[in-house]
């Protein structure tokens, strides 16, 4: 099975103080540490597990002109066979639809059976690229995938839905799956492995290498524009209702009725 995995480099904001920079449209990332997006890391592992079971190849794709070599080399050290980086500052990486179109232009040049992405990016949280990529490639898609079982030329996949529901889907190949975290346990890439992975090729592409117009890659058709980014105001507007339980319930019910909620 020949698999493409799309990966993204994101800041780790779990413990960092998040503030907006002077432009008012960007998060100040000067003090962040960066790593592969968590869900993408699981997608890489799932691709490697499928390759180990079924044979084939795993190619990593990344659309980013920043310092992504480390995360790509780590994926290669874990067992990916090759990598493609679209390293072009003209690509509007803020727009998930643009990213999906560029990824589709890259992956569409190749023969493949399966495309995996993470289900969500840890920075913008759009959850859009995987589904949009499937649309661009005109392929079936399953999102939030928690289990993958190959069955002949198809896949049986388990999706995680709202409220804790699980859905089993039978999907034809080629397909796009967006992988939920927790589907597996990502392996470690030892430093010796990362060094050995230097021998594997990272193919670097520009817009001109792809069948996509520069205007489109730059977001000319983009319907997404960042207008303002701000930290939600912390305010205290809670009203504490005093009294015995029955009195409190009556007051609360009155307020809900008055507010049109009941």
């Amino acid at each position: 099975m020949d698999i493409f995995v799309c990966i993204k480099r994101v800041p780790d904001t779990s413990e960092a103080e998040v503030s907006v920079d002077e432009s008012g449209k960007e998060v100040d990332s000067s003090r962040f540490s960066f790593d592969i997006n968590e869900a993408d890391n699981y997608a890489v592992e799932e691709a490697l597990l499928l390759k180990e079971r079924l044979g084939g190849t795993v190619q990593v794709v990344c659309v980013d002109c920043g310092d992504v070599e480390t995360i790509i080399r780590m994926a290669l050290a874990k067992g990916a066979d090759g990598a493609i980086q679209v390293n072009d500052g003209r690509v509007n990486v803020k727009d998930p639809l643009v990213i999906a179109r560029v990824l589709a232009a890259v992956i569409g040049q190749h023969q493949f059976d399966l495309v995996l992405t993470g289900c969500m990016a840890g920075d913008d949280g759009y959850m859009t690229v995987g589904a949009a990529l499937a649309e661009e490639l005109t392929l079936p898609c399953a999102t939030m995938v928690k289990n993958v079982e190959p069955q002949g030329g198809r896949l049986s996949v388990c999706r995680e839905l709202e409220g804790g529901l699980l859905e089993e889907v039978d999907i034809a190949l080629p397909a796009v799956l967006t992988i939920q975290t927790g589907i597996n346990e990502p392996r470690y890439a030892s430093i010796r492995g990362v060094r050995q992975a230097q021998k594997k090729e990272i193919k670097v592409l520009k817009i001109e290498d792809l069948e996509i117009a520069e205007e489109e890659a730059a977001g000319g058709r983009s319907s997404v524009e960042m207008q303002e980014l701000y930290v939600p105001e912390v305010a205290s507007r809670a009203e504490l209702i005093e009294g015995e339980p029955a009195q409190k319930a009556e007051v609360l019910a009155g307020k809900l009725v008055k507010g049109g909620l009941l």
């Binding site: 780790d12 540490s33 874990k78 470690y188 030892s190 430093i191």
Partner: protein, 378 residues
């Protein structure tokens, strides 16, 4: 069998093992784990068994205290055998997620705690400390351990060392830039490639500073620099060696009274592995009003707290009583009000044990730098 496993017997001189059992007899974790060093050394004679030996969960119970290597009458290094077995798993990529995350963090951010590199020096904001850059001549260059740099419980320790050095008029400086993990824990966790890379990078960095001495806060950095960094030019000291020297030479005086019974816990990486037993005790003996008492198991026989050997990131399968709990019980039986540590890992494990017992009001676990830092009149 991969290339590295070839020659395993020769590399570790396993045919020299006479199966005397001194290693297992001195291994502190046998009290709560199935780890049997003697059995592992015997098993490793069959190189086809290495993979299955590496798969034993108790391999991760070793705290790298070094007792087995110290006690071996044939001069073998059983600890290195255990580390080599861990490294088989690391190279295969299948390790506990907490270990994987710590190692990836060392590689990416230069610390095992998944903290941003950019926040390394936040602890010293607004403190009156001296900082030196590469090439600037300095007598004592202070190297702050990752755990001290990032853990809010421990950050004050580094500040206290600066205060004491200011007070004693020492020509010192904290590193202006570049400070990163010594990788001692990466080594113990079996990530030899990462360790080698960090040794190379750190040696170049530390040699770029014109320092006569490098003062470490953690015994783990100390032991690594002293024994595993052959290219370092500066003399390596643990801070307890420097403070004892300053007290002996009369350059510093601890002049506030501390009426406490204090028991000192020897860190394995300072005591057993490097023979620094007297200097921490000398400092504690200079505290006006304090009484220093000793554990029954002390100095070379000191009981490990289980904080080293990468154990901060490994959850043992054993449900047996933690050695740190044994240690704090012994301290309580001695009537000690202060359990003194000279290592960030010892401090954290012992303090956790005191909290688990609910003895916070009876025993205070304190770093020597916390104690001494509070006893100077600047």
């Amino acid at each position: 069998m991969d290339e590295r496993e070839n020659g395993f017997i020769q590399k570790h001189d396993l045919l020299g093992c006479i199966q005397c059992g001194r290693c297992t007899g001195g291994c502190p974790v046998t009290a709560r784990s199935g780890l049997n060093v003697r059995g592992i050394l015997r098993g490793a004679l069959d190189e086809d068994l290495l993979q299955s030996l590496a798969g034993l969960p108790e391999i991760w119970d070793c705290t790298a205290c070094g007792n087995c290597s110290l006690r071996c009458p044939k001069g073998l290094k059983p600890l290195d055998v255990l580390v080599a077995l861990r490294s088989i798993l690391v190279e295969g990529g299948v390790i506990q997620p907490s270990v994987r995350d710590a190692l990836e963090s060392i590689f990416r951010e230069g610390n095992p705690w998944d903290k941003p590199r950019a926040a390394r020096f936040d602890w010293r904001r607004d403190l009156d400390l001296k900082v030196v850059g590469p090439g600037e001549a300095v007598h004592c260059l202070v190297f702050v351990c990752c755990t001290v740099a990032y853990d809010p419980r421990l950050q004050g320790i580094a500040g206290n060392l600066g205060r004491l050095l200011n007070y004693a008029g020492v020509h010192y400086g904290f590193m202006e830039e570049g400070e990163t993990c010594c990788a001692s824990e990466a080594y113990c966790l079996g990530e030899e490639g990462l360790f080698e890379m960090m040794v190379e990078d750190n040696s170049e960095l530390l040699n770029s500073y014109s320092a006569s001495r490098i003062i470490t806060i953690s015994p783990h950095c100390y032991s690594a620099f002293k024994n595993q960094y052959p290219q370092l030019r500066a003399e390596i000291l643990h801070y307890t060696e420097l403070l004892a020297e300053l007290l002996r030479e009369g350059k510093m005086e601890l002049n506030r009274e501390l009426k406490e019974r204090i028991v000192y816990h020897d860190p394995c990486f300072l005591g057993k592995q490097n023979g620094v037993f007297n200097d921490p005790r000398f400092i504690l003996q200079q505290l006006p009003g304090a009484e220093l008492v000793e554990f029954e198991r002390t100095r070379e026989r000191s009981l490990c707290c289980e904080g080293g050997g990468g154990k901060m990131w490994v959850e043992s399968e054993s449900r047996g009583e933690r050695l740190a709990a044994v240690r704090v019980r012994e301290a309580k039986m001695l009537g000690a009000g202060v359990l003194a540590a000279a290592c960030p890992f010892c401090l954290l494990t012992l303090e956790d044990a005191v909290k688990a017992e609910g003895w916070e009001d009876e025993i205070k676990v304190a770093e020597i730098l916390e104690i001494a830092g509070g006893l100077i009149q600047e």
